[in-house]
């Protein structure tokens, strides 16, 4: 029985989300993750304030050669990158790109996936069957291949990367939402709503949906993490953001592979940025999962 814990919760709470948030704040890992995410968000937003230079400006190209780049020095906190741009500037603006791509890709995947899942889980019947067969098919294609093909169709642009990453997540989100919607369907509170005479659409959107989004939100947080990494993987495979001077961590990392021997910091820094951001999202996501999972609330 869950009575003891419930009784223990102090009055004046903002619904289950409020409870979840407070529980989340009690977890050190979640707070650490949140701080990381927040930090990078601030960096992304305040990029122009953090660096005096324009991103992508190859102003100092004259100082680099194929086998050497100037390291940290006056005027350039971290030195130059292989195009002759200020590395620090690129990293700072890279946060923008990575976050925008990650958030948009996840949002897009979430939107489409959730729509499919909602239709399937809410309407059931042949809509459900069809949607699930299609996601079956999509799931049996390796996600990276899917992404690669999308990127190939769309050409090399950040938009293509977003769609590519989103496309691979659509079936995942769809299934998740459908699954938890179906689980809600038989629950007493839904039956109760029906018994009160609430129309189906209102039950689906007003009652089932808010209670089903938990796992989807968790997944979205985790996708935010993988998106950053996937952007890098796509770059590695020669897809994704095409303009080499646009500051984007994945690209920077891939580009720096060529100079690993002579200038390892060119790879290690964006690599670390990717890893840390992904870590931030993962920590938050994992903690959210635990917090929202009714099994772990005991």
């Amino acid at each position: 029985m869950s009575a003891p814990t419930a009784a223990a919760v102090p009055a004046r709470a903002g619904g289950t989300w409020g409870v979840a948030l407070r529980r989340l704040l009690r977890r050190r890992s979640a707070v650490a993750g949140g701080v990381i995410v927040l930090l990078f968000t601030v960096i992304a937003l305040a990029a122009p304030l953090l660096t005096p230079y324009e991103p992508g400006s190859a102003e100092w190209a004259g100082r680099i050669t194929p086998s050497s780049v100037p390291g940290p020095g006056p005027g350039h906190l971290l030195g130059l990158d292989s195009f002759g741009s200020d590395l620090f500037t690129q990293l700072v603006y890279g946060a923008r790109q990575s976050l925008v791509i990650g958030v948009t890709a996840t949002g897009l995947g979430l939107l489409v996936g959730a729509l499919v899942g909602l239709l399937a889980g809410g309407l059931g019947g042949w809509v459900d069957t069809l949607a699930m067969r299609v996601t079956d098919v999509m799931l049996s294609i390796p996600a990276l291949l899917l992404a690669v093909s999308v990127a190939a169709v769309m050409g090399r642009s950040p938009v293509a990367v977003m769609i590519a990453i989103a496309a691979a997540q659509v079936p995942v989100f769809a299934r998740l939402l459908r699954g938890s919607m179906l689980a809600q369907r038989g629950l007493d509170y839904v039956v109760a709503a029906r018994s009160v005479g609430v129309p189906t659409s209102r039950i689906v959107f007003g009652q089932m949906l808010p209670n089903s989004v938990g796992p989807v939100i968790v997944q979205a947080t985790l996708v935010l993490a993988t998106a950053t990494i996937e952007v890098a993987a796509l770059s590695f495979l020669g897809l994704g953001q095409a303009d080499p001077t646009v500051a984007e961590w994945g690209r920077m990392l891939v580009k720096a592979q060529a100079r690993l021997e002579s200038a390892p910091h060119l790879a290690l820094l964006p690599g670390a940025c990717i890893a840390v951001t992904a870590l931030g999202f993962t920590l938050v996501g994992e903690a959210l999962r635990e917090v929202l999972d009714p099994k772990t609330t005991r």
């Binding site: 190859a58 050669t65 194929p66 050409g155 090399r156 495979l237 095409a242 080499p244 060529a258 100079r259």
Partner: protein, 533 residues
Amino acid sequence: ITSCSSERGTQKTAAGGDKAGTFVFAAASEPVALDPAFVADSESTRVANQIFEGLVSIKPGTAEPAPGLATSWSQTDDGLNYTFQLRKGVKFSDGTPFDAEAVCFNFERWYNWNGPLQAENISNLYQLVFAGFKTSDNPALTKSIYKSCAAEGDAVTITLTRPYGSLIPALAISSFAMQSPAALKQYKADDPGASGDVRRNEYSSAHPTGTGPYLFESWEKGQRLTLRANPGYWGGKPKIDKIVVRIIPDGTARLQALQSGEIDGYDLVAPADVQGLSGAGFQVLPREPLNILYLGMNQADPLLADIRVRKAIAHALDKQAIVSQTLPAGTKPAEQFIPPPVNGYADSVATYDHDPAKAKKLLEEAGAVGKTVTFNYPTGTSRPYMPSPEDTFVAIRTQLEAVGLKVNAVPEKWSPEYLERIKAKTDHGLYLLGGTGIMNSADTFLGIFFGRKTVEWGFEDKKLFESVAAARSARNLTEQGEKYATVSKELMDLLPGIPVAHPVPSLALSPRISGYVTSPLAAEVWNNLQIKG
């Protein structure tokens, strides 16, 4: 089984124990075919060069033609008859003798190809040199230059239908190497076989038979290709017993494999790795560049159709800066569309110095200040003549912007998108491209680039095309060189593009290998390599 683990220590002793040892070379991709007649790619050629020889060879360390299976040759003044004196006592590795009949058999084999074998990807180089076949199934082909072959004891005479000035250097190309008629017949070299692709038939994948210093031993697809020293090689048995060609597609992986001692060498070292490798005691051997990297300017673009704009761009470029920032050490800026050692290099041409002021002025005259120019460049590729297109693009862009042009960057994947954009579509502007010579002849540069109207360049200039045709059909090399030199001059006035540089490709070798002499044509034969104990 010889037991030898790849651990560095034990490997050294193992190699020391068996004096000649094994030379392991990493290739970026698998050879397409072992029958050299069908292939032009560098990995196939590299292997073919060890197994096969042509009538003409290349003087080590240069791009010069040298005696090969023919000890000498002569030609008639009209440029239509070439007579080759054949080397005596040479045998194919299947034991059959190399003689005049064998030579003619090879020429007739190429000449008689028909149907699918006339596809561009199958007989690419034959078509490039000889222009057509006995019967043309492909309407794009013209009349064959080759006419007939006559065996006269130890000599062979090749008759042409019209003069072709580059025949001698062309015959040094591995596609025209001599193959054993017996083996070609026995293994049905021209039969598509079960796979439906002649390049993968039994001959081409398991029985290549030539006269070269090494014999084909085995080919484990995707993993390795093994060659053994040819004990009966006319030039003496090679010092190395065995060659293994490994396939390592990733550049970083090749570097690391060399560093960890798993391989003895690889080609096309990334410019950034050169210093590190030589610092760590590896040999990094530069090749004299026989290539060109140019910035094309598509005249179908109205902006670029204006010669003042093209000239302005030429003056805007600081080639020296591009070279030092993005190209391998030793690279020289280019002034013409052919590299200096090549026959046809002009003494003096119009040059366009780095002069931003002049560039700005020209742009003003043309009313092009602040205009946006499309700039196409490829991504995800590294060519010998263009090791890092993205870096080069960035460098050029910066320079263009400095003189007041706006740049609309259009990056695309090298294959097929980029190639398609440049070669088949008209909507490109500035673009990066180039080429590597397959023989010491301007024909492989100017002949291919400017022989006819192409969408790549987007201009029509009958006079230029005629000069090129005339140069092609010059009666001998000297005459051809002179004619191409004029073409070169004309080109630099016309300025369809800007020659940027001749990037130096280099090859990395383990310190235990000695005796490697690089060739500008990358046509090294490994019979003189040695492995230090």
